[in-house]
């Protein structure tokens, strides 16, 4: 599924870009700006869901089941008479938190493991890299399915599965960065002046790897949201009655001809979420990529 979004997140000489430069690049790049706006909207939707949603997401109106849009229910109702708009708004909570939690964990694990691999080198590096290779040959959605069949369905298992297949990407990026930065004069100087390994790693190597990690995080957030929705769609993700876009899409799919909005609304939101993170990640990568930068303007 969305695993392919992780392609090409390997460092393309993105190092040595400060935080300010990243923000500037993000704001300058048009597509990234569009992505940022959507992300802000989605997060607001998740945070202020109780304020925004006209109904409680689980409240059933059994007199109006599978309705199209009405004054009472702007987006209509689902197969058990719940307000679709409210379900969709609450669905943002699940998607966004799955994305954030999974990415936070996998980035942390990946960064630590990658730092160790790159800094220590030798057989430690070899072993760690072979482990990441092993995890990376299993496509994300397949991983989720296996976890679900082994541990049973449920959102926790989906998150664990997402973490398991995304951390190696981060580890590889960081390792690549460390290898390229390790030989730089100032790091050598720090080592020569007796700084401890840990200190060098966190003070010198980590800040240099900020840009690629942010790019990868954005892409991984998108991937996580997509995988979660996919798992829910296949029926192994979140369990009822929690509001979930993927779940709604699955149910709505059965009523596609009768109430198209039932599947269109959640589908659009999933797409918007994945798209916005991809836009930011992709735009940031382009904006920070020195090979593609500084093209200047055409003189007429």
């Amino acid at each position: 599924m969305t695993t392919a979004t992780m392609e090409g997140t390997e460092p393309r000489r993105l190092s040595q870009v400060g935080f300010k430069a990243i923000v500037r690049a993000l704001l300058k790049h048009k597509l990234s700006r569009v992505g940022l706006v959507i992300i802000v909207l989605l997060f607001s939707m998740a945070i202020f869901a109780p304020v925004l949603a006209p109904y409680h997401p689980n409240e059933q109106d059994l007199y109006s089941v599978l309705q199209g849009p009405t004054k009472k229910h702007w987006l209509g109702t689902d197969n058990v008479g719940r307000d679709l708009l409210s379900r969709v708004i609450y669905g943002a909570r699940l998607s966004m938190s799955v994305g954030v939690v999974a990415t936070a964990f996998s980035a942390t694990i990946g960064v630590i493991v990658g730092l160790i691999a790159g800094y220590k080198g030798g057989w430690i590096d070899q072993i760690i890299m072979r482990i990441t290779d092993t995890f990376m040959v299993i496509p994300g959605l397949v991983f989720v399915l296996v976890m679900a069949s082994a541990l049973g369905p449920g959102i926790k298992n989906v998150v664990i599965a997402i973490i398991l297949f995304t951390w190696p990407g981060f580890a590889r990026i960081i390792r690549g960065q460390v290898l390229s930065v390790r030989e730089l004069p100032y790091v050598e100087a720090a080592r020569a002046s007796g700084s401890s390994g840990l200190r060098i790693m966190f003070k010198h190597l980590l800040p240099n790897s900020l840009a690629p990690v942010i790019v990868a995080s954005a892409l991984s957030l998108g991937a996580a949201v997509g995988i979660e929705a996919g798992a829910a769609f296949l029926g192994v993700g979140v369990q009822p009655p929690t509001a979930s876009w993927g779940k709604a899409l699955r149910t709505g799919y059965s009523y596609l001809e009768r109430v198209p909005l039932f599947s269109i609304a959640p589908g659009l939101l999933i797409t918007a979420a994945v798209l916005s993170f991809t836009l930011v990640g992709d735009g940031l990568r382009d904006a920070l990529d020195p090979r593609l930068r500084g093209e200047g303007k055409k003189i007429k």
Partner: protein, 320 residues
């Protein structure tokens, strides 16, 4: 030349990863809590009768320690004895052989779409950099990368099978039954499977070509008096497309994830469908075989890319 050594190295490397991932997947399926036999038997067997449970466990070798199970399973797997399905009782090997051509057809179709759409989009974007054409192609590509497979499938089914009835909404007709119907059956599924790859190809080719066009040797080519066309196709295309081989290989490996969902949604009897069904039925012999196939497919694609890369890029040939 060192080419043989290079290939040998890549093969050994792939085998190591295969071994590690086999262990990982075997462990995940068998070691994690939950008893597959109990789960599978829940419906039709009285689970209070321990002796029946024990008998079934013994039949599937589940009464032995895990590492012994692994060795036995591996031995049988290599011999082509992949066990029998818990739900249908059919040998997994037979299921695999029957379904392989279907999934391969989908893969080829998806790759076709990805190439036909992704490659021109990327090239035109790069050659018309920063134009409106470039911007819209970039937009299309990113949407293609982001759009969830199942959502795209729903949209296409709704538009082209429900509203305008061009394609069947689901189902599969084998090629030898009716080539035309077979073709109509796979148009939508392959398009959906190929979309994401098309998007990544386009993005990758754009940046790869742009990077190459900024190289010194392109200036050299222009200084020779070559036409811009010759500069692009003779001097830039090859170095720009060589790294793209990697992405093409990667995406082939990951098409399987798409096939899981697509075969499920379009009711196509391929390996992806087999995997999804096995997950729901907790049919672990089938699941295990499917997973190993997924990994072998990814590794095989990667290996092919490495070898191809070695042939295409003269710089790799001499590296040790």
């Amino acid at each position: 030349m060192g080419m043989r050594e290079y290939i040998t190295r890549r093969i050994i490397y792939a085998l190591i990863i295969l071994a590690l991932s086999t262990v990982l997947l075997f462990g995940m399926v068998r070691l994690l809590p939950g008893d597959p036999i109990r789960a599978a038997m829940q419906q039709n067997v009285d689970l209070t009768d321990e002796s029946i449970v024990q008998e079934v466990r013994a039949r599937y070798g589940l009464d032995k320690p895990v590492h012994i199970q692994f060795v036995l399973w591996l031995r049988d797997f290599v011999k082509g004895d992949w066990g029998t399905s818990l739900s249908s009782g059919e040998p997994v090997w037979d299921m695999f052989l029957r379904r392989l051509p279907v999934t391969l057809l989908l893969f080829v179709g998806a790759t076709f779409w990805a190439w036909v759409i992704g490659i021109p989009l990327g090239i035109f974007s790069a050659l018309n950099r920063n134009s409106y054409l470039d911007a819209s192609f970039t937009g299309i590509s990113i949407v293609g990368i982001s759009i969830p497979v199942f959502w795209e499938a729903i949209l296409l089914i709704y538009a082209l099978a429900v509203i305008i009835k061009i394609f069947p909404p689901s189902g599969y007709v084998p090629f030898f039954t009716s080539p035309w119907q077979n073709f109509m059956c796979i148009v939508l599924p392959t398009f959906v499977m190929g979309t994401q790859s098309a998007g990544s190809f386009s993005r990758y080719i754009r940046s790869s070509l742009l990077e190459v066009l900024g190289q010194d040797y392109i200036r050299t080519a222009r200084a020779k008096g070559l036409r811009e066309k010759a500069v692009v196709w003779k001097h830039a295309a090859k170095p720009a497309l060589i790294p793209v081989v990697t992405v093409i290989g990667l995406s082939w490996g990951h098409l399987i994830a798409g096939s899981f969902i697509v075969e499920f949604m379009f009711a196509i009897p391929g390996l992806g469908r087999m995997g999804v069904d096995a997950v729901f039925a907790r049919d672990f012999p089938v699941l295990q075989a499917t997973l190993i196939l997924v990994v072998i497919n990814v590794l095989f694609a990667n290996l092919l890319v490495d070898i191809l890369y070695g042939y295409l890029d003269p710089r790799v040939r001499v590296q040790k």
